[in-house]
Symmetry: C2
Subunit: 496 residues, 2 copies
């Protein structure tokens, strides 16, 4: 099947046809987590969104090099004691120990959400030479200056010479100056408030530090992504992604650094995910409007009535387009849970459908194929997962009707049924990356085997009007949140 | 409880009392995997051994900084094309993509074996500046020389001046020369065959390369561990571990580098794990005498009659002391599987034991306490897991006899029973790091709930002499490899 993939480019503010630089290959860089705290649910949304994008690009045939960094340059301070004091080292704070703890936690959370690992996961601390070289190139090209051992990017000069700053975030220089995070910090060293640090001289108590031509210090925060995307994807590459909040100053400064160091464009397509809200408002710890992934999974929060499994949360995320704000509410999660179960049940139902040997394909056959084409069309339209899901749920209705006999299986060709099984499976598991949680829990078949035994015993009991046993089974399953469904083709089971 | 921990030091070839440099703290460095191939079962043995050591050190109260590196400096060669050729980059081999693939696989395998992540997991490529600085220090101290852009460690001069080379591996210089891996390589550049590279100038097709004062190149293999252990644990630290095969040249050269760069001792205690054999012989791909962890888990190998779960394999590893060779055979694994099940069943049995309110502690009480003291004593004796397990299985016998009534619970005080529950739980799960695989599979209680329902139905059926239902349950459970055990205090279930 031909794909006319379009994606929304934050730079041009338009949906554009996607044309990678190299036929069949895609280079994609996504800003990863800072590993000095637990990953937020909003970050998880961003990484799940790009996981689906990564999965779909691969699914339609691209070889994707997906680079997602780990920001592990930490700004922890020590207590001022001499670190080299013999024997005392282990008592002192070691930033890498903190970084490791949260990196492990982040990986575990990505595993729980079934997000694939990226192709390369470079660490900022692991690319100090590359960052120093980039600072040197920026200085050589006249877009930076040194002051007291720190090096700053000369934003004003860059704008005058190139005119390309502010294009991504749509801000003019006055706005940038007003909003600049560094507005007041190191004001005396900077020539202009819009300038930003690309190398910082470390204060004596700053623990993480490396030698450089300018000082013992550390790279500016924006530099790592420019250096690492260049190293692994080249000075110009296809896609750069991240959360909306990174557009300015982080991504704007990345563009400036790439151009300033080698007159390179960097990314051709910029993609940004939108915010995750909780009950219509921005999450905020200070006013209690917040929920962490573990709290959400077990229901340990005033904001939810119960826990929601990681796959329900993943499904919930996919119900909204990555460029729209996603509002997390208990009601929406309950609905997502029902939708997710319906999807999983439909897959089991679909796998049990057998083609009619004497089928004569009618309008239903054409309709199914058209719905399936639509599934791809919606995904090709800027990875529109909610619209794709809508098409898939139209297929779910047809699948259930085919099972129930309201729609005739005799009007569906064997080829169409086979395609339906393939497309359904591919989108649910391969592209959307959902997991059948029942299958995962009893992945050696034990759970399914026990349920089959219980279904048999129940059928026997009913046959001999032994309502006691039948009731006992009903009550026990209810307390385990399992349910049986009796259908034309026998009894099946699922989660409540 | 007081601990008199002793460990065998490979340097002194003696068991020594363990005295950490800082009270209450331990710094431990273990050579981690090379991430350009799948982790071998023999490596898994090493990492599981040090995982138990790490767990036990923490269990007896130490704060441990456990550093295990990732060797990701790769020696892949490109095809000679110009790598900077616009647009072609994604088609070319990227060593970091290979390293990421195998790093992810390694982490997954450690998770499967339930090995805790280390406190810090530094990557060789992430510590190029530190390695360059160490080379500079070695040159400054006169223990290295440059030749054509590469830098070599001057082993002969080092021996003459310090006399400390060869102490770990117990070799003299003539032997070292004869055995040196680099014996013939770069012979013309080296002044003596025992010298080894600490910085290598990269040939044109070598992909991974960094700028240095001597050449664009890469660090010598031995250097990373010296540089990273120094960075995170200090120039002198407590424990350095690794596989026996790393003693020479890797660890011998590490010692030389540490001393050569700062006259530092490096590690005070060197610990080495012994080899994993398969059917009495060294594993070797070329003669087919090999098995990978996944093959072992599913039984996909001519060397095993069936699959063995990761926890059975972990238990199997603990049945042999880390300093002894471990011979993997199908018979030994079958025995380990039985032992592991027996251990897990005993834990369930133990949890069901209730103290006798009118207990009057007798000799049995003293015996149980003495066995428990023994558990610690064996672990304190160079982490002797097989002897520790032997003591634990003596406790298993007592637990089963207490349950069966052959030993009187009335002779065990409530305190002793509580201690027994604690010690048993701690050693099985916390120190040995075993997992109850039944609990893990149905970790929301579903499996246990269903089994309880089936046990109830079976009891009812037997009560009314409904042998049909009872047989149906027996057969179904047998096919799922589950079994019921009828005891004095009701029916329990377990895996076959």
């Amino acid at each position: 099947m031909e794909h006319n993939l379009k994606l929304y480019n934050s730079v041009t503010r338009e949906k554009e046809a996607f044309k990678p630089m190299q036929d069949g290959h895609v280079g994609m860089y996504v800003c990863g987590p800072t590993v000095y705290y637990d990953v937020h649910l909003g970050n998880c949304r961003t990484f799940v969104s790009f996981d689906v994008i990564y999965r779909y690009l691969q699914y339609i045939g691209y070889r994707v090099r997906y680079v997602r960094n780990i920001t592990d340059v930490g700004h922890l301070l020590d207590d001022g004691e001499d670190r080299m004091l013999k024997g005392a080292r282990l008592e002192q704070l070691e930033p890498m120990e903190v970084a490791q703890k949260y990196t492990v936690g982040f990986h575990e959370m990505m595993r729980i959400f079934n997000a694939l690992p990226p192709s390369i996961e470079p660490r900022a601390t692991g690319h100090i030479p590359e960052q120093i070289e980039m600072v040197q190139d920026i200085l050589k090209n006249g877009y930076g200056y040194e002051a007291n051992g720190s090096v700053y990017f000369d934003t004003l000069k860059f704008i005058e010479k190139t005119g390309i700053y502010g294009g991504l975030s749509g801000r003019n220089v006055e706005e940038l100056v007003a909003e600049s995070r560094d507005n007041l910090k190191n004001q005396s060293e900077k020539r202009h408030p819009a300038d930003f640090a690309i190398w910082m001289k470390a204060s004596p108590e700053h623990i993480m530090r490396w030698r450089s031509p300018w000082s013992e210090g550390f790279p500016g925060w924006h530099l790592e992504c420019s250096a690492m995307s260049t190293k692994y994807l080249g000075p110009e590459f296809d896609i750069h992604g991240g959360g909306n909040d990174l557009k300015f100053p982080h991504h704007e400064n990345e563009i400036a650094q790439n151009y300033g160091s080698c007159q390179c464009k960097g990314a051709r397509y910029w993609m940004h995910t939108n915010m995750l809200l909780l009950n219509g408002k921005k999450m905020s710890k200070s006013d209690g409007n917040t929920i962490s992934p573990p709290e959400l999974f077990v229901g340990d929060s005033e904001h939810v009535s119960k826990g929601y499994s990681p796959m329900v949360v993943r499904f919930f995320m996919l119900q909204t387009h990555y460029r729209s704000t996603l509002d997390l509410t208990d009601e929406a999660l309950q609905a997502a849970e029902k939708g997710f179960r319906r999807l999983m049940d439909a897959d089991k139902t679909l796998q049990s459908l057998q083609p009619d040997a004497a089928a004569s394909p009618g309008p239903l056959d054409a309709e199914l194929n058209s719905l399936m084409d639509g599934v791809y069309e919606e995904m090709d339209d800027d990875f529109n997962t909610p619209k794709t899901l809508a098409r898939i749920f139209e297929l779910v209705s047809r699948i259930n009707s085919l099972k129930g006999g309201q729609l005739p299986i005799s009007e569906v060709s064997a080829d169409t049924l086979a395609r339906l099984k393939q497309v359904f499976h591919d989108f649910v598991y391969v592209v959307f990356g959902l997991l059948d949680e029942d299958a995962t829990e009893g992945n050696d078949g034990t759970l399914d085997g026990l349920m089959q035994l219980i279904i048999d015993i129940r059928a026997d009991a009913r046959g001999r009007k032994d309502w006691g046993t039948s009731d006992k089974i009903r009550d026990a399953l209810k307390s385990l949140r399992l349910q049986l469904k009796d259908g034309k083709e026998g009894t099946s089971w699922g989660r409540e």
